[in-house]
């Protein structure tokens, strides 16, 4: 009998983007599940909900948010959490994720996924808030690692130690963004394999893989391009280390035809089939 906190895996999914709504409904593509951006559907009605409801009838979905500000210093936004909970009641996602970051202060929103210092104080702070959010939502949530461009003098431990400690202490799951690990490893000059080996295998629930912009000396996670070989390589390493993890291609900008993303998804399937034990 397993005591793993992991939820049943969903296979190979895509991010649901409005550009693909009609193609998905017309062609029922071979995608195991869709990840929907929570905030896009926190509206009263209209096209977004109309399409989501139809796609939901055919595919499992998960909800991925950007606004929880789990590391923020303002009180948790309970109005936001209530809206997330209401949406979850309506569309019954298999899980809900957000990012291990902060997004604003004093009621002002930067609309960015800002990095936290990897300190004892931040761990305590985030753990308390994850517990509160999970209690309120009535389920375990996933926290995703963000890409970062700064290292704080305050930080006492590595990013992987930080996310792992929080996941263990708050009893939440991890959404491992392989591209973000790669981007941060370039920006902070660490070995991405150390990251992969530093997180607890039974807490990794989902992968994001994506493209980014390379500026030689640093990289930015623009999610607007094809996945590059080093990220595929890192993904191949990840599937050897972790079991039962659901994979998703994340494209946020410069959205191509659905078929392009389906090809990338097939590539991920091939890699997983080749390397998974």
């Amino acid at each position: 009998m397993s005591t793993s906190p992991q939820l049943p895996a969903l296979g190979f999914g895509l991010g649901l983007r409005k550009e693909h709504y009609t193609t998905i409904l017309e062609t029922s593509p071979d995608v195991d599940w869709f990840e929907v951006l929570t905030e896009n559907y926190l509206v009263s009605g209209g096209k977004p909900r109309y399409f989501l409801d139809q796609i939901r009838e055919r595919y499992p979905v998960v909800m991925h948010g950007v606004s929880m500000s789990i590391g923020g210093s303002d009180a948790l936004n309970m109005d936001y959490l209530q809206q997330v909970k209401d949406l979850a009641q309506q569309i019954e996602p298999r899980w809900i994720s957000d990012h291990l970051c902060w997004t604003g202060l004093n009621g002002l929103n930067a609309h960015d996924l800002l990095p936290l210092p990897y300190t004892e104080e931040a761990i305590k702070h985030v753990v308390k808030r994850v517990e509160k959010a999970q209690d309120f939502l009535g389920r375990r949530m996933l926290l995703e690692n963000v890409s970062s461009y700064v290292t704080y003098t305050d930080s006492e431990i590595s990013e992987w130690e930080f996310i792992s400690t929080i996941a263990e202490q708050a009893d939440c799951l991890i959404l491992l963004d392989v591209n973000n690990i790669y981007v941060s490893s370039v920006n902070h000059e660490f070995d991405p394999l150390d990251y992969l080996h530093g997180v607890p295998a039974d807490r990794v629930q989902q992968y994001h893989i994506a493209g980014h912009s390379d500026f030689t000396d640093y990289a930015i996670d623009t999610h607007d391009a094809e996945i590059i070989q080093p990220v595929w390589d890192l993904y191949a390493q990840a599937v050897q280390r972790f079991d039962n993890v659901s994979t998703m291609i994340e494209r946020d900008d410069n959205i191509p035809e659905l078929s392009v993303l389906l090809d990338e998804l097939d590539k991920a399937r091939d890699i997983a089939a080749k390397y998974q034990p």
């Binding site: 926190l42 209209g46 606004s67 210093s73 960015d112 800002l114 210092p117």
Partner: protein
């Protein structure tokens, strides 16, 4: 003994001041590398903050963007970002104060067509994701017994937005939507009433109305009865023709999917 300030809070305050005011105090908290100095690292965040918000505004206001051109739109966006930082968790709401900002801030306040365009575009945006509904059909309306008409009260499509426009911005909006170069804005003799709404085909619609129709619609949306409307329409036409005119408005609203139900008698 006073509590020491939380280092996490202090760091976040300095970071927000970097993004919103360009304050560089946070530099001392960041470790740079030979390849990528601290300024470059912080610059990535400062630039991303602005780009993302400018992008959101351009997405909400494509026609304001088109009327101003790239450079002036970016200048406007930067002024707006400084003046009205986002206070909502969803970036969808970031632009909600732009019409007021344009109306109240020089040099934009000197171009009334510009703020009316902003008002029109934000209105369409609200229509787009307002609550879903089921429209009343013409058959439903025809089945109403003749004696029920004078007490008739209606429930309306929740996506309806009513605005008054003194410039021909909907026509300009259509030109821009068809990727044409917009013609010079033309002002109307008097403010025209417009109604914007969504049909069940999920498409946004808008049309101008005669003043009496706009008055009747506004009244009936506030629970006025058919009889009330007939009385009020005498402002514009003689009493004898008022019921016919009122019924004409209602049947057009029904065809346009502006009505969702006949309210039960109290």
């Amino acid at each position: 003994m006073s509590h020491e300030k939380s280092p996490l809070l202090e760091l976040q305050q300095e970071f927000i001041r970097l993004l919103m005011n360009g304050d560089q105090k946070i530099q001392s908290r960041i470790i740079g590398t030979q390849k990528v100095p601290v300024e470059t690292r912080l610059g990535i965040y400062a630039d991303a903050y602005r780009f993302r918000l400018i992008d959101a505004l351009a997405d909400s206001y494509p026609s304001v963007h088109s009327l101003l051109g790239d450079d002036d739109f970016i200048a406007l966006a930067n002024a707006y970002i400084d003046h009205c930082p986002s206070q909502h968790f969803s970036i969808r709401w970031f632009g909600h104060q732009l019409p007021t900002f344009l109306q109240q801030t020089a040099p934009y306040s000197g171009s009334p067509a510009l703020w009316e365009m902003a008002l029109f575009e934000w209105t369409l945006r609200d229509v787009f994701d307002a609550q879903d509904f089921t429209p009343l059909t013409m058959d439903d309306l025809r089945q109403l017994p003749a004696e029920r008409w004078s007490d008739l009260q209606l429930q309306f499509n929740p996506t309806i937005q009513r605005i008054e426009l003194s410039w021909n911005v909907p026509a300009l909006w259509q030109e821009i939507d068809k990727q044409l170069d917009p013609s010079e804005p033309i002002s109307c003799e008097y403010p025209l009433p417009w109604v914007c709404w969504r049909k069940i085909d999920q498409k946004n619609w808008f049309r101008s109305m005669d003043v009496d129709e706009a008055w009747a619609l506004d009244q009936m949306r506030q629970q006025a009865s058919f009889a009330d409307i007939c009385e009020g329409l005498c402002e514009w036409i003689d009493a004898q023709h008022a019921p016919q005119r009122a019924a004409g408005h209602i049947s057009r609203w029904c065809e346009d999917e502006l009505i969702t139900a006949i309210l039960p008698l109290k």
